[in-house]
C-alpha cells in the first residue's frame, strides 16, 4: 500500500517541474521563439531560490515563517529565471540570432555560473546548496495529526508549496493563452507575425513576453525539480529542461495535452526508479544493472510516442524564424 502511495506521490512530484517548464516553453514557442535554454533557466532559478532559502534559514526568518519564506523563494526563482531568459530574448528578437545557438550558450553558462557562484559564496569545495528542512510542508505545518493513511502517505511524502502553485499556474496559463487578448496576440505572433504586425500588434514585444514567461515558469520549475530530486541543489537538472521540451512537443503546444504528457513521462521515470519494488514489473534477473533499462524507458517511450504522433504534430508556424519587420 505504501509503495503505491510512494509511487503516486513521486510521480506527481516529478510531474510538477516537467509541467511548469513545458508550459513555459509553450509560451515562448507560441510566440515564435524556440527556447532550448530551458535547462539553463531551470538551473538559474533553482540556484538563486536555493541560495535565498539558505539565506532565509541563516537569518532565522525561514524557520519562523517557513511558508512565507518559501513563497518568496518561489518568486525569486521565477524572477531570476525570467531575467536570465531575457538574454535569449535579446539574442533572438533584437539580434535575430539563431535561436538554438543562443539557447545552447545559455545552457552552458548556467551550470558553470551556478558552480562559480556557490563556490564563491560558500567557500571552496562547497558547490552544493542544502535545502532547509523547514521548506517541506508536513502534517505539522497544516496542523493536522499524523496518521498512517494512504492519503497522508501520498500527500505528505514530498509536499512543497511549488506543487500548489503549479496547479494555479496551469489553470492561469490555460486561461491566459486562450481567453485573453494577450494570449490571442501571442499566438498570432507565433503563427503569422506579418498578420499580427499588419493589425498593429507589436511582435517584438510579444516575443519578449513569451520568452519572459518561459523564464518565469522555467525558474520555478527549476526550484520544483531541485525539491523533488532531493535535499540539495547540485548545479544540474539532469536534462529535465530538454525532457520538458519533448513534453511540450508531445503535448502539441497545448496546456491540457502537456499536462497529460508530463504525467505520462513522470510515471515512466518513477516506474524506472522503483522498478525493484514493484511486484508485477519484469525483473530482468539475468541482466545486470537492469535498472538502466527502466532509466532508458522514458526516453524510448518518448521516441515511440513521437514517432506515432508526429504526423499530426503542428508546431507554431513561425517559430524559430526571426521576425523582420522590413520583410513584407
Amino acid at each position: 500500500m505504501n509503495i503505491l502511495a510512494d509511487i503516486l506521490s513521486a510521480t506527481i512530484v516529478f510531474m510538477i517541474p516537467l509541467l511548469l517548464v513545458a508550459l513555459g516553453g509553450m509560451f515562448s514557442e507560441r510566440s515564435g521563439v524556440v527556447n532550448i535554454a530551458l535547462e539553463g533557466i531551470m538551473i538559474i532559478g533553482a540556484l538563486f531560490s536555493c541560495l535565498f532559502l539558505r539565506y532565509m534559514d541563516a537569518s532565522g526568518f525561514g524557520p519562523a515563517h517557513p511558508q512565507w519564506a518559501m513563497f518568496f523563494a518561489i518568486l525569486v526563482a521565477g524572477l531570476t529565471g525570467a531575467i536570465f531568459s531575457l538574454l535569449l530574448a535579446f539574442a533572438s528578437v533584437n539580434l535575430k540570432a539563431d535561436q538554438t545557438i543562443g539557447g545552447t550558450a545559455l545552457n552552458m553558462l548556467a551550470p558553470a555560473f551556478a558552480i562559480v557562484l556557490t563556490w564563491a559564496i560558500q567557500g571552496q569545495g562547497q558547490t552544493t546548496i542544502l535545502i532547509p528542512t523547514w521548506a517541506r510542508i508536513t502534517q505539522e505545518t497544516l496542523g493536522i495529526p499524523v496518521k498512517d493513511t494512504f492519503l497522508q502517505a501520498f500527500v505528505f511524502k514530498s509536499f512543497y508549496q511549488t506543487s500548489i502553485w503549479a496547479v494555479f499556474i496551469f489553470i492561469i496559463a490555460s486561461i491566459v493563452l486562450y481567453k485573453t487578448r494577450f494570449g490571442l496576440r501571442l499566438r498570432a505572433c507565433g503563427e503569422h507575425p506579418q498578420a499580427a504586425d499588419s493589425v498593429g500588434v507589436n511582435v517584438y514585444r510579444m516575443r519578449y513576453s513569451g520568452v519572459f514567461i518561459s523564464g518565469l515558469l522555467g525558474g520555478i520549475g527549476g526550484l520544483a525539480y531541485t525539491l523533488a530530486a532531493g535535499s540539495a541543489f547540485q548545479s544540474t537538472v539532469a536534462g529535465y529542461g530538454f525532457l520538458a521540451l519533448a513534453v511540450m512537443i508531445f503535448g502539441n503546444w497545448k496546456p491540457l495535452n502537456i499536462l497529460g504528457a508530463s504525467l505520462f513521462f513522470a510515471l515512466f521515470k518513477i516506474l524506472g526508479s522503483y522498478s525493484g519494488s514493484i511486484p508485477f514489473l519484469p525483473k530482468f534477473d539475468n541482466i545486470k544493472a537492469s535498472e538502466y533499462i527502466y532509466l532508458m524507458l522514458p526516453y524510448i517511450v518518448t521516441m515511440i510516442v513521437l514517432i506515432l504522433t508526429s504526423k499530426k504534430s503542428r508546431a507554431p508556424k513561425a517559430e524559430g524564424i526571426p521576425y523582420d519587420k522590413g520583410r513584407r
Binding site: 535561436q99 543562443g102 553558462l109 536534462g239 530538454f242
Partner: protein, 381 residues
Amino acid sequence: MGEQKKRSLRIPGSTSILASLISIGVGLIVGLVLLYVLNAKAAGGAFISLITTGFRSSDKFAKVLYQAAPLIMTGLSVGFAFKTGLFNIGATGQYTIGAAFALIGAIQFQLPWYVCLLLALIGGAIWGIFPGLFKALFNVNEVITSIMFNWIAMFAVNLTINNLPMMLAKYWGGAQMDRTANLADANPGALIPRLGLDVLMKSNYMNISIFIAIAFALIAWIILSKTTFGYELKACGYNRNASVYAGINAKRNIVLSMVISGAFAGVGGGLYFLAGTGQYTLLKQLLTAGFNGIPVALLATSNPIGTIFSAFFVSYIQVGGDAMQPDFVKEIIDIIISVIIYLAAFALLTRELLTRGKQRRQDAALEAAAAPAPEAKDEVK
C-alpha cells in the same frame, strides 16, 4: 527546420575570423572581470596562469594537445553538420556510443587500437542516422530525437557494460565497480600509440591522437572543398531549393551528412578513451564532450582546418583553467566559453544583417520593376 532558420549558421569569408577573434577577446575580458570580482588579489595571477600555462612546460603543452584531439573531432562533427544546414545536438550521444564501441572492442574482444578506432567511427556513424532518418520518415523534430538519443546512448552503454563483466575494472584487479578497466591492464594493445612522444614531452599521456584528429580534419576539409559530394552537401545546406533545381537528392544528402557527423563524434569518443587517461565511468549525466564541440565549431565557422585551431584554443584555456585552481573554480572557463558562443552567434549576425539588408533592397528593386526599360535603343544588325 526550415530554410530561413538555417541562414545564420553559414558564414561567408574572412571577416568571420575577425568576428571569432573579437568574440574570444571579449570572452576573455569577461573572464578577467569575473576573476576580479571573485577574488581581486588572485585575479591577476590567475589570468596570467590562464593565458600562459599551456605553453609553460612541455607536459602542459602535451596536455593541451591530447585534450584538443577529441575536441577537434566533436568540433568537426558539429561543424560538418552546420555546413550542411543541420544542428547536431546529438554529438554527445554519438561520442558516447563511439567510446563504448571502442572500449568493448578493446577490452572485451582484445582488438588492437586501430580496429577499436574504426569501431568507434562506425558506432558514431550508426548513432548519427537516427535524427535524420526519423525526420524523413516520421516527421519527428530532429532536435528532440537527438536529445533523446543522447540519453538513450548513455543508459544503453551503462547497461551493456554492466553486462559484460570483462569490461569492468574489478575484473582486471581494479577496485572500482563503476568504471571500465584501465586499458593499461586490460589491453595495452588498444592504447593509442605513444611513439615516444610521452618521453619527449615528459607527459604520461601524450600520444598520437592529435595527429589522428588533424588527419580527420584534413579529410573533412578535403571532402567539403574538393569532392563533388561535398559540393552537393554544401549546396543543400546553403540553398535547398537551388540544390533541388540542380537535381541533387537533398534527403539522401542530409542523412549522409549526419552519418559522417556522427562518425566524427564517435572517433572523438574513441580517441579520448583509448588514450588511457581515463576510464569510462558509468555516470548518470551526459558527457559534456559533445557539447563542447559547439563552441569549437562556431569559432572556426565550421571550417575543418579552423576547427583544429579553435579546438586548440579551447583546450588551451581549459588547461589554463585547471591551473587556476585552487584559487578559482575551473568552471570559470565554461563561463568564458559560453560567453564566446553567445557572442559568436551575435557576431555572425551583424554580418548576416548587413548582407541581408543589401539583398533586401536589391530584391525590392527587382520586384518593383519586372524588367527595366532600356532608355535608348539602337538598331541591332
